[in-house]
Amino acid sequence: MITVSHISKLYKTGDIETVALSDVSFEIKKGEFVAIMGPSGSGKSTLMHILGALDQPTSGEYNLDGESISKANDDELADIRNKKIGFIFQAFNLLPRTSALKNVMLPMAYAGIPESERLVRAKKYLEMVGLGNRMDHTSNQLSGGQQQRVAIARGLVMDPAILLADEPTGNIASNQAAEVMDIFTKLHEKGHTIVMITHEPDIAEYAKRVITIRDGKILEDKKNK
């Protein structure tokens, strides 16, 4: 499903070169629930951007669901993000003052799916995350946990190869965080592939495998009991 081989990422600011990732390789199989852990500055955000096709590695190969991402151009990357990756951000990133339903419909609009089908699918996924009665609420009328559930529905609606969650509970009250994590657990049971970036050990507990990164290198790759 995901094959990362010998990926490095260098940032250049003037004459100073910063190594964000150096020679990282791993594989994630279909249906896995993986947490990527590490303190800030460890390179986990860079890794998440590369896994999410938001950025490209300086060297190395990244293959997602049979597509080579290292060599794709801007528009091809947009297409890959649209069809293969479901994003869940720390800050939710819903369109402001826009209804939950419209937010969930947005990725399907970019894929050119007809309006009637967009509506049916958006409703289905909103019901799945338990927001069937709040579809017309705009994002600022929803709590943090509810907003993140809208974002999960939006991430799922294109039926992507992986769900990529970046600190999904970072901006949510702890009681609502459990709700969100329960949804991840259920999705994992249904067979979705989930990659979650976090620095909180108790959130990483939900995953079945934890990859720890430090100074741009993989420190540890172990299964959770």
Binding site: H49, G52, L54, D55, D74, D75, A78, D79, R81, N82, K83, F87, F89, N93, L95, P96, R97, T98, K102, L106, P107, A109, Y110, A111, G112, E115, R154, M158
Partner: protein, 407 residues
């Protein structure tokens, strides 16, 4: 993403921020509105002037005396007393004149007129009966000056409806009454049909008397103010101008036409001069309005640029969710075009409204020129694309990660 969905999406984002959208539209509304209002007002006044000049009569030539010059002092044109009744009679009888249909010598002077306790100051014009035909004057009641009045130096007058209103009151019947002008008592024998006009050129505010009465009985003058000539047709206007010109040059003993003590103007000359003036005026107004349109366009660009910065995170999100570069460009372009077209339509209605109100206040004919509307709408669309392009490019070039990180 198909274009229909994109347009719906754009309407959505525009209605979310109503204040910003309203302000952006306002600039275009004012721009387009003033272009349409000013151009149509300019054209209306142009048409009003044309109509008024044409109502003076067709195929009309006017001979006016030149300036009164004594030594090095040059007086105003038309002030000289060089044009005489004999000149007019010569034009009537000369065998060299073949293109003139009728001749009307005129003597005019402003004077105080009284009836009972009422009085007014108006133009007194001494005329031949032919004047009515040449100047297209008709009477609404009574009769016009006749040959017999002229021959007998009758003390009669035909008065305009404005004079009737001033002296006798609105709707009164003045026929048979006597008015006093310059010490003479004149009997009213007719009232002319209202023609309109305003200011010093009001054709309804005049009193017509026989030429002989005006010259000899009332003002004691032996010269003419002007001679109106009607050519046989539109085609012989130039020939007529030349024939009369050479005849008068010979009579006044001039060999060099530039030294002549008279001038001959055709109606076309007047019309051309007038429409040149109003045309320049319209262009000037249009130019001023175009500047405000440009300012409106820059306003749209300004707002769109602010929007791009303000919506950096949103653009980043859209790109992360799969919006291609082109889709982002289209989104911002369509938003700009919606803004300018909405502004254009509102501005067009406003412009039409303003020119309707102003033209009815100013008594001008209400004209809407379709080209000016088409131009204004076209320009507003072009402004949308032109000033929307740069912000759209800027938005599309944003990198999704940087845009998502933007606070």
């Amino acid at each position: 993403m198909d274009i229909k969905a994109l347009i719906i999406e754009c309407f959505g984002t525009l209605t979310i921020n109503k204040m910003r959208t309203g302000l952006a539209i306002l600039g275009i509304v004012i721009g387009i509105g003033s272009v349409i209002a000013l151009i149509s007002l300019g054209q209306a006044s142009q048409q009003a002037i044309t109509n008024q000049i044409e109502s003076l009569g067709s195929n009309l030539l006017t001979v006016q005396p030149g300036a009164q010059n004594s030594g090095a002092v040059r007086g105003a044109a038309g002030g000289a007393q060089t044009l005489t009744l004999d000149d007019a009679k010569a034009i009537m009888s000369s065998s060299k004149i073949t293109t003139i249909k009728s001749v009307s010598p005129e003597f005019s002077k402003r004077s105080q007129v009284t009836y009972g306790r009422n009085n007014t100051n108006t133009q007194i014009i001494g005329v031949y009966p032919a004047y009515a035909e040449i100047r297209k004057i008709t009477v609404s009641s009574g009769v016009f000056i006749t040959e017999r009045d002229e021959a007998a130096m009758s003390k009669v007058a035909v008065i305009g409806p404005q004079v009737v209103a001033d002296l006798f009151g609105e709707g009164a019947n003045p026929i048979g009454q006597s008015i006093r002008v310059n010490g003479q008592s004149l009997k009213v024998i007719g009232v002319t049909t209202a023609k309109g006009g305003s200011g010093f050129n009001n054709q309804d505010d005049v009193i017509y008397v026989p030429l002989s009465t005006a010259q000899k009985q009332m003002f004691g003058a032996d010269y003419l103010s002007s001679i109106s000539l009607e050519a046989k047709s539109q085609d012989v206007m130039v020939a007529a101008q030349n024939e009369v010109g050479y005849l008068l040059l010979a009579r006044h003993k001039f060999t060099d036409p530039t030294q002549a003590d008279f001038s001959i103007m055709s109606q076309n000359d007047i019309l051309n001069t007038a429409s040149q003036v109003t045309g320049t005026f319209t262009t000037l107004l249009g130019g001023i309005a175009a500047i405000s349109l440009l300012v409106g366009g820059i306003g749209i660009m300004n707002i769109m640029l602010v929007t791009v910065t303000e919506r950096t995170r949103e653009i980043g999100l859209r790109k992360a969710l799969g919006a291609k570069r082109k889709v982002i460009i289209y989104q911002f372009l369509i938003e700009a075009i919606i803004l300018t077209l909405t502004g254009g339509i509102i501005g067009m209605l406003l412009g039409i409204g303003i020119s309707f109100v102003l033209s009815s206040i100013m008594g001008l004919p209400f004209t809407i020129s379709p080209p000016s509307i088409a131009l204004a709408m076209g320009v507003s669309g072009v402004i949308g694309v032109l000033f929307g392009w740069y912000p759209a490019q800027k938005a599309a070039k944003l990198q999704p990660i940087e845009a998502l990180r933007y606070e």
